[in-house]
């Protein structure tokens, strides 16, 4: 048989009156209320609550310690451990970005540079943080491991200009990353 008949639960007369369920509900909500006020709500510790309920009072208390590994903050550019800027301005991230937040002006690596083998590097790299939706597509698309989602989330631009992160700012936020990309090393 393709279907199964499920019997409706029988509702007793007491349940039909609904008063018992009502009172039970009122007791439960009251319990929550009292526990919140005395600051003993359930799973308050795990959620890092401060004071009433499980709420963390944000600017005073921060989630930072509890941030999971996979947390996606704002995107940043990183340099390799050898100090080379990893981005080769291939513009893949610019094209994949669903919010069109990234604007790259590609340029050449000067011939006398140690890394002139790389040929290209961004002259300017801007991410408009007012457009960015923190999706992480740029990180996925990047063939050079140059752009990463950081753990930072505290961005409070006071005007639209301040909302745009330029190359210097992105590198400053990103810092250096260890390992991984070795293909441009001199001996190869």
């Amino acid at each position: 048989m393709a279907f199964k008949t499920i019997k409706r639960p029988k509702i007793s007369i007491g349940e039909r009156f609904y008063l018992k369920a009502l009172l039970g509900g009122l007791v439960i909500t009251m319990k929550h209320l009292v526990l919140s006020i005395i600051g003993k709500s359930r799973s308050k510790k795990e959620l890092g609550g401060s004071g009433i309920g499980v709420t963390m009072q944000y600017p005073e208390y921060r989630w930072d310690k509890h941030l999971p590994e996979y947390y996606r903050g704002y995107p940043v550019l990183v340099k390799g451990e050898d100090g080379r800027e990893r981005c080769v301005s291939c513009q893949l991230c610019e094209f994949i970005c669903p919010a069109r937040a990234i604007t790259i002006k590609p340029g050449e690596v000067p011939a006398d540079s140690q890394w002139n083998k790389v040929e290209k590097a961004p002259v300017e790299f801007e991410i408009d943080m007012l457009r960015c939706i923190y999706c992480g597509m740029c990180q996925e698309a990047c063939p050079e491991q140059a752009i990463f989602m950081s753990q930072g989330y505290l961005l409070t631009p006071t005007d639209k200009k301040a909302g745009v992160h330029n190359k210097a700012k992105l590198y400053e936020l990103g810092g250096t990353k260890q390992g991984l990309v070795n293909k441009w090393n001199a001996y190869k």
Partner: protein, 422 residues
Amino acid sequence: MIDSILSFCDSVLSNQYWFFIITLLIKLVICFAITIAFIPISVLIERRVASFIQDRVGPNRVGIPATIFKRFGMKADLPFVKALDYFGLPHDGRIANICRYFRLDKDIPLLGLLQPAVDGGKLFLKQDFTPPFVRRFYFWVAPMLVLAPPLMTAAVIPFAGDLETPYGNINMVVANLSIGPLWIFAISSLSVYGLVLAGWSSNSKFPLIGGIRSSAQMISYEISMGLSIIPLLMIYSELNLSNIVQYQADNGWLLLPFWGEGLTVERWVLLIPIVISFIIFLTSVFAETNRTPFDMSECETDLVGGYHTEYSSMKFAQFFMGEYAAMIVGSSLVITLFLGGWSIGFGIDGWLLDNCGNWISTILQLIFYVLKLAAFAFFFVWVRWTVPRFRYDQVMKLGWLVFFELAVINIFITAAILYFIK
């Protein structure tokens, strides 16, 4: 000078008509102040209790930002630092840290008590948008029709005991009608016009459904509401709310007959119909005021926003205030009929009158009345955040098939008890 003023006041108050007018004005102010002030208070209760129930904090951020001192020309950046220096305390000592914990360095906290005021200000400043497709006149009239009836009905509810002055007896009710409950039912059912007109004039389908639902619901529950208090009127043999409360003060609240005549067998047997009446009446008040679990007319899961979908700014706020005002008047009616109105209870009223004088007892009664109202506002909020919304057919079934019959049967039970048990 002062003597002449006093004698002038004396002569004015001795005049019966002036005395009446002046006391009436004072009573009006008190009555309206209670009702109007309770709207933001119950909004605050609503938001805070709701958030406590959901393990949140609720509005607690409204305070006076300390930066305001700088804006008004203070040189040093924060008065907090200045104050620490003044007392010679280290900037990161224990006391400073405790103050920081309570955010005293950032603002002067008011525990979020200012939140309703700020909300009101926000509603004033919002764009008042009238959609082009509405019936303009009715669209404008509807919010007023919702807000006015509850404020009118508040007039017949006594908020304290009588006050005896050398010039005469002041009855602490704006309009001492001998048809109190009937007046309330007559006027409060008018607010259904506001909802229906809002729904219809919005010229849009969801508000229309909301308006129609609310009219059906309010009319149905009006019946059980009216029938459920008939037993009470039989017990009181009185329709004047002041006298009803006075009776309860002397002989025990209807639901708690613990003193005076309330200790007779008859009163205890009468508790059975009274409790039934209480449940029906309370539920009907919920339904009448369109509060969850009965807010069919604005149930956002299937009607967007119900009858006020197209409203914005202050016109929306009027609906909002109307709902809360209706809730307050409804709860004051429950208090007046079942829980002794302004009376402090347990025979304390009489004791106070004898030992502490008339003024003190009246003021205490007023305070007690306000406290009872606050408790009831809490109860409304508590129920709202506990019980899920009913289905529309369930609401109608409950009203017509359960409460209506129950209320009618209840009348006969009461009559029988009153007749046989003496």
